[in-house]
């Protein structure tokens, strides 16, 4: 069971009223410094392309600023940011019209940046599982998101998360074991 590391948001996905106060630059910089590296990690591992990850990262923050989203706290804003990034990623792949949700073979993927996925065994193992699996696992075990939060960020049904996460974990564990990684052994 994944602990609830982040409080659930209110049922208010976005406030877009003209009168909503926008975030000031100092607050934006603070949020950026706190979240950008982790968000880029999420995007890099989700799409396997450093340049695309940086583009989506910038676009995510831009949309966050333009949305005039009124968050209750930074965690709330951070979840909204991940949701924007996830939607942008989905839109990107939808525009590209992929025939499958799996990452193409590393050697043949047109925009696959091997430097990111093959930098270590974990990266190459992640490249072997589906994009949605990668996103879910990252949110659960790196971000510490609860099932409800994962459902909210990925726009899927909360009851499905548990079984989907279980299957994703099994698939990644299989890939990690195939690379000789064992529990307690640090990834190179």
């Amino acid at each position: 069971m994944i602990p609830t590391a982040l409080a659930l948001p209110l049922d208010r996905p976005a406030a877009t009223t003209d009168s909503a106060p926008a975030m000031d630059e100092a607050a934006f910089r603070r949020l950026y410094e706190r979240t950008a590296r982790k968000l880029r990690g999420y995007l890099v591992r989700s799409c396997g392309n450093g340049a695309l990850a940086d583009d989506l990262l910038q676009e995510s923050y831009l949309r966050l600023l333009r949305s005039r989203f009124e968050a209750d706290n930074d965690d709330h804003r951070r979840r909204y940011l991940y949701r924007i990034a996830t939607n942008l990623l989905r839109d990107h792949y939808r525009r590209a019209r992929p025939t499958t949700d799996r990452v193409p073979d590393i050697g043949r993927a047109p925009e696959h940046d091997t430097a990111f996925h093959l930098r270590n065994d974990v990266g190459s193992a992640m490249a072997e599982i589906g994009r949605r699996d990668r996103q879910m696992l990252w949110l659960a075990y790196v971000e510490g998101a609860s099932h409800e939060e994962i459902a909210e960020i990925m726009a899927i049904k909360a009851p499905s998360v548990r079984s989907m996460l279980f299957r994703a974990r099994a698939r990644l564990a299989e890939q990690l074991r195939a690379r000789g990684l064992q529990p307690g052994v640090e990834a190179p």
Partner: protein, 158 residues
């Protein structure tokens, strides 16, 4: 070795977050396949995230993102401020088209009359006066204004 979902998974995950597991939890992970798998995946992903955070290229400059947002915001404000003008232009276009359409049959008839059976009698040479009526002038003016408004609306702005 058990393979089902284990009630100690949350404890294992806490241990992974702290960086080490107590001996009894280590022993449990050797017996429980589910916890061993959880530990393997969570530890690997956390190590990977840490490595990505430390070794990745520099982040994009937040000042550039902020500036882009400000420019977009300014465009939005400008669009909101000129919305009423845009609607007036649209209304003018619509009125022009309507008036033009209402008078089109009459104009066509006049034009046709001009070219069918052309004669050089004084009445035909006196074209501007015979073709012009106050209503036609108004309609033509509206058409011109409408075309100008349409051109203004569709002009590509830098």
């Amino acid at each position: 070795m058990s393979t089902g979902d284990c009630i100690r998974q949350e404890t294992v995950l806490d241990g992974v977050r702290r960086g080490s597991l107590p001996p009894e939890l280590e022993a449990h992970c050797r017996e429980c396949a589910s916890c061993a798998e959880l530990r393997l995946v969570a530890a690997a992903l956390r190590a990977d995230a840490e490595q990505l955070g430390q070794t990745g290229p520099p982040l994009p400059d937040p000042a550039a993102i902020w500036l882009r947002a400000q420019l977009a915001e300014r465009d939005d404000r400008l669009r909101r401020a000129t919305r009423s003008i845009t609607w007036i232009q649209r209304a003018t276009i619509a009125a022009s088209i309507a008036i033009g359409a209402a008078f089109a049959p009459g104009w066509l008839a006049r034009v046709r009359d001009l070219f069918v059976g052309v004669d050089l009698s004084p009445a035909a040479l006196d074209l501007p006066r015979s073709a012009g009526s106050p209503l036609l002038v108004v309609a033509a003016s509206f058409l011109v204004v409408g075309i100008l408004a349409l051109w203004e609306l569709t002009a590509v702005r830098p």
